[in-house]
């Protein structure tokens, strides 16, 4: 058997089920790996060693009692620190929630526990999921396992780095503008944004409610699909949760066959501003898909170029309201409560000290966009653009089964490079934002290394609402073909931790 921490989730689950290894041994191997590499990667904000070992022992007891184990029982997972966990702090990467122990589990946290998934701890993230590099974390950035001087992407960069660094075979992130797919792409792992409403947001600390989508990160498409099915499904505690069967994503990942599919290339996302090495790998992916029997055609989505500005009105507007609750009154940081100040002054001091610069920037943007007299020109107009983008998708999916583009315009950029240039940072999500605005599904699968810098490039596959299975089919086919051509998994080339 390979080193336990290098096994895929599917392999671990099978080995635990068959009694070849105990969940406790698997957990210990991953905890040891975390101890070994996380001082350099800083994927985790909190390692829940005791809770993880207890959860693993519970799986082992279930197995020895002869009970049926769920498909991911005993598999370790890295959970983004935006999901509430009643036995672990939940900070959202923010000083304002430092040390907060929620009194309740998120629906997804609960589903993971019920499925016997072993939560290793809580992973780093840009504060309140606002950012593309984890540099907006109040607790310091995470590092890309391919090159520790580079960002792991964000906001779910802790989870993507943990998966890429073999600290966990599975990670969970949230995608609001690309926050799963972009870190997945730049870390060379799979990142999935399921259909909005397919995964419960209950217990996911909100950034932008109409966009936030929990989803899996994994080293293989099949692992992502297995986690997708465990996480997903209707939740009566979330009014925006879709009451429909989970698309058959595991079957699609196993099918891994694109013959007969029609695939659309979005020309708006292959031109200026894209790193040449990224475009080169993308072109090769297009050829690969054709060689695998897909029909590839170009489908223009003219309104996608307005997605970024629309997003930067809608997401900040919602966040300005969602983050109003952090006021020092009931939980979290409280600054200046010395008996001389009014509640209003304590609120203001706490928010001034507790929020980082990017969060404040977006609260101000959103507050402005929603203000009386500006609403129609900003928030209202952005919602109209959102409708047009949704129509672009609908028209495209009338013609093709899935759309594809590069996941990001560039590979992982160096830490510090964009911290003082918000616009440059925002452009990292150029290709991922349309699917968030429209609520459809999208997946990023590695499609090789950029020839100019040797860093991973992501291929984004976008599928219609509730047709998540289609992108798994395509993603698994690309993964299988590239792994076969290379002869080994892409991550073997990651040398950051060597």
């Amino acid at each position: 058997m390979a080193e336990l921490f290098r096994m895929s989730a599917a392999e671990i689950a099978g080995a635990v089920r068959d009694g070849e290894v105990s969940a406790a041994e698997v957990t210990d191997a991953h905890l040891a790996r975390i101890e070994q590499v996380d001082p350099r990667v800083h994927a985790f904000l909190y390692v829940a060693a005791d809770q993880a070992r207890e959860a693993a022992r519970a799986v082992d007891r279930r197995r020895s009692s002869g009970a049926q184990l769920s498909p991911l029982a005993g598999v370790p997972l890295a959970l983004k620190d935006v999901f509430t966990t009643k036995d672990m702090p939940t900070t959202c990467g923010s000083a304002i929630l430092n040390g907060w122990l929620p009194p309740y589990d998120a629906t997804i946290t609960r589903r993971l526990r019920e499925a016997g998934v072993v939560i290793l701890g809580k992973t780093n993230m840009d504060e309140f999921a606002m950012g593309s590099s984890t540099e907006n974390s109040a607790f310091g950035p995470s590092h890309n396992p391919w090159d520790l001087s580079r960002v792991p992407g964000g906001s779910s960069g802790g989870s993507s780095a943990a998966v890429a660094a073999y600290e966990a075979p599975l990670g969970i992130g949230t995608d609001t503008g690309g926050s799963i797919r972009q870190p997945g792409a730049v870390c060379g792992v799979i990142g999935v944004k399921p259909t909005y409403g397919g995964n419960s947001r209950y217990g996911v600390v909100a950034f932008a409610s109409s966009l936030d989508t929990p989803g899996p990160l994994a080293r293989t498409v099949l692992d992502a699909a297995l986690l997708h099915e465990v996480m997903s499904g209707h939740d009566p505690c979330d009014a925006t949760s879709i009451d429909a069967p989970v698309p058959p994503v595991v079957a699609a990942a196993r099918q891994a066959d694109v013959s007969g599919m029609t695939i659309g290339v979005v020309p708006e996302f292959t031109g200026e501003g894209f790193q040449p090495g990224v475009l080169a790998r993308f072109s090769e992916a297009v050829e690969l898909l054709e060689s695998l029997g897909a029909k590839v055609t170009e489908v223009s989505c003219p309104h996608f170029s307005y997605a970024l500005p629309a997003y930067y009105l809608i997401a900040p507007s919602e966040c300005s309201s969602n983050l109003a609750r952090f006021d020092a009154m009931r939980y979290g940081l409280r600054v200046g409560d010395d008996g001389t100040r009014s509640a209003e002054e304590v609120m203001a001091l706490t928010r001034a000290q507790g929020f980082g610069a990017e969060v404040k920037r977006r609260i101000m943007l959103g507050t402005y966009a929603l203000s009386s007299g500006y609403y129609d020109a900003y928030y209202g107009k952005a919602q109209q653009v959102r409708t047009l983008i949704t129509r672009d998708f609908e028209a495209a999916f009338d013609r093709v089964d899935v759309l594809i583009s590069p996941t990001t315009p560039t590979t992982a950029f160096p830490l510090g490079e964009r911290v003082d240039d918000p616009m440059a940072m925002y452009l990292a999500d150029l290709c991922t934002i349309p699917s968030d605005l429209a609520g459809n599904a999208a997946l990023s699968v590695p499609c090789g290394l950029s020839p100019d810098d040797g860093l991973p490039v992501g291929l984004q596959i976008m599928a219609p609402v509730l047709a998540d299975d289609r992108m798994y089919r395509v993603g698994a086919a690309v993964e299988a073909a590239l792994d076969a051509r290379r002869g080994y998994p892409l991550l073997n080339d990651a040398k950051g931790l060597a």
Partner: protein, 510 residues
């Protein structure tokens, strides 16, 4: 210093200005659970015990709307003759306040659930038209919408109980998330001097309507019905609308009337002085009956309303709306008209019953066998007095309509007189049992046994020879003093008319 405003006498004010009023009423729905979570929506409880992550607005929590609360809102809308939206949304109203867990309130903004209805209100007999018929006003309803209530702040240590000057504040989130329906009238034009009466009559009618719909127990003293009253004045006959003030949290029927009355007097003085009425919120003071300035609208908040992204649009199916409509109960105005005719009483008598909050009680007492006159007599006099003494609602007295009917029957049969009947009621209220049990336990019965009475009559005559002489001399009216003496001696249990007969038989030839 509050209270120093200059006023113009009311009659003078309305001789020169036309008042225009509008009312915003908040009513807490009587649903079992809160609007967006499963916590109990009951009043009171130990502070912060009826709470959960959702109504505390904890990070990550999400609202899920209560179907019952939506049904109740539609029921109210239909009873107020409103149109029910086929599609509408909740909206967030953003502002910071410690008793608001999320620092936004989930409410409705430009897409309310119910719009464009009306409610007819009837003024008191005293305001009847020239032909004696009661005056009716049709109050237009602008909108009815559903929102969540906030928590409740308690400011400790200060002299006033207000936040200013307090040492610290406590917040109870039990109320946070209780469903609240806001009912907004259109501007009520053409009331003239009757504006305060119309405001009073509207809130009264609305209260009765809400109770009859079973959507709320409507207890104003517990804050389950709260009114904001808008008032403005315009020069008489000008047809223009003046600048309005909004008097917040006026929490009794009488206060609604007083608040309008006061604002008319105050605004008339402002206008007479050649100044402009400031558009502002004002606070009503129950003790002094005056209003004082709150924050002005110029510095008012921008609530940054936007559609609530945690909820999907609300699209009540038409067949559901029609089911709710079909199940509406008889509305109070129709019921009053029906009962008034059935009982053969006047409009004024019906108004008295209603003002006492005794309509259900009187109806049930009649149903239990009492005559309408007896039912009204006991509830509106003896029992109303006792309720008033203890500050209780009539309906909360520990006596049932059946008990009252039983007492009335004992009087009618001659077993009790009114005085004894009052003692029986006292006993029932004191928890001594049913009327029959109280009669038995206290030994209350009218004494009409001649042998016993004759002894008492003779003692009274012996004790009051001067009175006896007057009667012998033909002054029969003087017998009252002797009757009183006998009643006193028998502790009220004597049959007074028989006593009179016995006295006259002893002292006269008749």
């Amino acid at each position: 210093m509050p209270g120093s405003a200059t006023l113009v006498g009311y009659d003078e004010a309305v001789s020169r200005y036309d008042p225009l009023i509008g009312l915003e009423t908040h009513v807490e729905l009587g649903t079992t659970t809160k609007l967006f979570c499963g916590c109990p929506a009951t009043f009171g409880g130990e502070p912060n015990t009826h709470t959960c992550p959702v109504c505390l607005g904890l990070p990550g929590s999400l609202p899920v709307p209560s179907r019952k609360a939506i049904e109740y809102t539609i029921r109210i809308g239909l009873a107020l003759n409103c149109s029910i939206a086929e599609w509408c949304r909740f909206a967030r109203k953003n502002y910071f306040y410690p008793d608001m867990p999320k620092n936004f309130q989930i409410s409705q903004y430009d897409e309310p659930l119910c719009t464009d209805g009306w409610l007819d209100v009837v003024l008191d007999e005293s305001e009847a038209g020239a032909d004696g018929s009661p005056r009716t006003f049709r109050v237009g309803i602008e909108r009815v919408h559903l929102e969540e209530d906030t928590g409740k702040s308690q400011h400790m240590g200060g002299a006033t109980g207000r936040i200013h000057g307090a040492d610290y504040s406590l917040v109870d989130y039990n109320r946070a998330g209780i469903p609240l329906v806001e009912i907004v009238t259109k501007p009520v034009e053409g009331t003239g001097p009757l504006a305060p009466k119309v405001a009073h009559a509207y809130v009264t009618e609305l209260r009765d309507l809400l109770r009859s719909l079973g959507v709320s127990d409507v207890r104003m003293e517990e804050g389950s019905l709260r009114c904001d009253v808008n008032t403005s004045l315009s020069p008489r006959g000008s047809g223009r609308w003046g600048t309005r003030t909004e008097t917040k949290n006026v929490n009794s029927l009488r206060s609604v009337e007083r608040a309008v009355h006061y604002e008319v007097e105050r605004q008339a003085a402002v206008l007479d002085a050649g100044e402009r009425v400031v558009q502002e919120t004002r606070h009503f003071h129950e003790d002094s009956g005056i209003t004082t300035s709150g924050r002005s609208k110029e510095e008012a908040q921008d609530y940054r309303y936007f559609p609530e992204p945690d909820l999907v649009p609300l699209a009540p199916p038409r067949d559901w709306v029609e089911q709710i409509r079909a199940a509406l109960p008889e509305l109070p105005s129709a019921r009053r008209a029906r009962l008034q005719e059935a009982w053969g009483i006047t409009a004024a008598e019906m108004t008295d019953i209603r003002n006492a909050g005794a309509l259900d009680l009187v109806e049930q007492t009649i149903a239990a066998g009492a005559t309408q006159a007896d039912a009204r007599k006991w509830w509106l006099n003896e029992l109303a007095r006792r309720a008033n003494d203890t500050g209780a609602e009539l309906a909360d007295l520990p006596i049932t309509p059946a008990d009252v009917a039983a007492v009335a029957a004992l009087v009618a049969s001659g077993a009790l007189n009114d005085r004894l009947a009052r003692q029986v009621i006292e006993g029932v209220l004191a928890g001594e049992g049913t009327p029959d049990e109280v009669v038995a336990a206290r030994g209350l019965a009218v004494v009409s046994d001649d042998a016993a009475l004759t002894v008492a009559v003779d003692e009274a005559i012996a004790a009051h020879p001067d009175v006896a002489d007057k009667i012998r001399g033909g002054k029969v009216a003087a017998a009252g003093a002797l009757i009183a003496a006998v009643m006193k001696a028998t502790r009220g249990q004597a049959d007074a008319s028989r006593v009179r007969e016995l006295i006259l038989a002893r002292l006269t030839d008749s």
